[in-house]
């Protein structure tokens, strides 16, 4: 097990089987967010937060599009089962502690987006000597950078005054989501020989 992707080929590129597994996970996570934002996006924008929702939808779609085109894909038999596990994990989950269902759904989606944007750092997997001009390397760096910006909408919402009465429930749900997402990410990486710390636990 290594902390970083590789070994690199002679041109500083990530092995294709690692590219495939990492990109598949990221497409699944960001694609799920894009789908759910698309469902929530009204045809006509009438409130400021809907403009942010529009931006989030297009950024998530851009990430998926970038990965589809920048990844050196190879056949991966295990992906079928793994993708099914990931897609199941992105399903909305009941959010306890808030009876207002639209608000509960918004919190649930925001906690998932926060966990994906904050907890997954694909660029941190790149070894120092990865080829900076390789499309996949560039894509991972761009996704991590964009995630940091996209995250701000979730932080603003989850820390907002309107959610102060639900702060404990929100924090609990968010920590749980972080743990879930990091576990999935760590398992995906372990399957291609990469060991990362699984967030707020001690393994590995």
């Amino acid at each position: 097990m290594s902390r970083f992707l590789g070994p690199l080929d002679s041109e500083g590129r990530i092995p294709s089987h690692q590219q495939t597994r990492v990109a598949a996970f990221l497409v699944s996570a960001h694609g799920a967010l894009a789908r759910q934002y698309a469902m929530a996006l009204p045809i006509r924008i009438e409130a400021a937060w809907q403009a942010e929702l529009n931006a989030q939808f297009y950024r998530e779609s851009e990430i998926v599009s970038l990965l589809q085109r920048a990844t050196s894909w190879v056949p991966d038999i295990a992906l079928g089962y793994m993708a099914a596990t990931w897609e199941t994990a992105w399903f909305p989950k009941p959010f306890e502690g808030v009876t207002n269902q639209p608000l509960a759904l918004s919190i649930e989606l925001a906690t998932r987006a926060h966990a994906i944007h904050a907890g997954i750092r694909p660029a941190a997997l790149l070894p120092v000597d990865a080829n900076a001009n390789d499309p996949f390397v560039l894509a991972l760096r761009r996704i991590e950078f964009e995630s940091g910006r996209l995250l701000q909408a979730q932080i603003l919402f989850l820390k907002s005054e309107s959610l102060v009465p639900f702060r404990d429930a929100v924090s609990t749900a968010l920590e749980r989501r972080h743990a879930e997402v990091r576990t999935l990410w760590a398992e995906a990486l372990e399957s291609v020989g990469i060991a990362i710390r699984r967030g707020n636990d001690r393994n590995p």
């Binding site: 926060h114 904050a118 750092r121 120092v128 940091g148 910006r149 820390k159 972080h178 707020n200």
Partner: protein, 308 residues
């Protein structure tokens, strides 16, 4: 790698040295991690001290709360660590944000300490520091951890330190970038921007206190350290020549020597704070010089001090 439990969170710490030796506890600045104290660990162990360092919640290998971190959590974590040290004499030092946590600890649990060394520190947010803090937070949000590092490096370190590293700055930044998560740094910065001024409570710090301030500290200038000197009864202000905010990184041998000498003086009963002002030597082992009488230590040019 040992951990302390604070609620559901785990705090990573390192503790070295003989159990019966006087202990130094060192508290990280905002973007730091425990390994950055390695040279202090080595130097202080060699001088007969026990050394404890840790990653604050949100830093390094400690847990990173997803949404909120309060300064109370940092003080509680520090209290847990100090609880591991037994009943021997304990000196507490912290840099910048860590200095603030050390000040709070000394106010709330001063009976557990025999000495305090706030470095590049502040007890309240001046308008400049508030605006700089907000700008750094915006930089983090818009440009990520790497951009925050790009802002902090030239602000807090000297040309002499930076010049030989200009071609390899990415490798200098890499470990800090790897161990710091953007959301956790943002949470830490927001806990700092929301804090209540400590100035009215500083006079309750009864332990000997050596305040260290870099001569050219732009981020937390002399005036912020002056508040500590004036308010903490048994204090001295020591100005580190040609040093910036992050002098603990740049002048580690000198700073570790000053820490050891301060503790030796306190333990030997030689320490006299007297709210005095000193100039540190440029190299470890040199003599401290009293600030020239009659001149204003708050000015950068030699201006006669106002008569009392």
């Amino acid at each position: 790698m040992p951990f302390l439990s604070h609620g559901s969170y785990q705090i990573r710490y390192e503790l070295d040295g003989p159990a019966d030796a006087p202990a130094y506890v060192l508290v990280n600045g905002l973007t730091q991690y425990s390994e950055l104290w390695a040279t202090y660990r080595e130097a202080l162990l060699a001088r007969g001290f026990r050394v404890a360092t840790f990653d604050l919640l949100g830093q390094g290998v400690s847990d990173k709360p997803a949404l909120f971190i309060s300064q109370d959590d940092h003080v509680a974590a520090l209290h847990l660590l100090i609880g591991e040290l037994g009943g021997g004499p304990i000196f507490l030092s912290g840099i910048s944000f860590g200095g603030l946590i050390a000040l709070r600890y000394a106010i709330e649990h001063g009976d557990r300490l025999v000495g305090l060394v706030p470095m590049s520190c502040f007890a309240e947010l001046s308008p400049q520091l508030l605006l700089l803090g907000n700008a750094l937070r915006t930089g983090l949000i818009l440009g990520g951890t790497s951009y925050l590092q790009d802002l902090l490096l030239p602000m807090n370190l000297s040309d002499q330190w930076l010049k030989p590293l200009l071609d390899t700055l990415d490798s200098v930044k890499r470990q800090g970038w790897l161990v710091n998560d953007l959301y956790a740094l943002q949470n830490l910065m927001e806990s700092f921007l929301a804090f209540q001024p400590l100035t009215p409570r500083l006079s309750s710090i009864a332990v000997p206190t050596m305040i260290l301030n870099g001569e050219f500290d732009f981020l937390t200038p002399r005036s912020l350290h002056e508040t500590l000197r004036v308010e903490i009864p048994d204090s001295s202000l020591v100005i580190i020549p040609k040093a910036y905010h992050a002098f603990t990184l740049e002048k580690s041998a000198l700073t570790a020597d000053l820490l050891a000498r301060f503790a030796d003086d306190v333990l030997a009963g030689r320490w006299q704070g007297n709210r005095s002002v000193w100039i540190a030597p440029e190299e470890a082992g040199g003599e401290l010089t009293p600030f020239p009488p009659g001149y204003d230590h708050l000015r950068a040019i030699p201006v006669r001090a106002a008569l009392p």
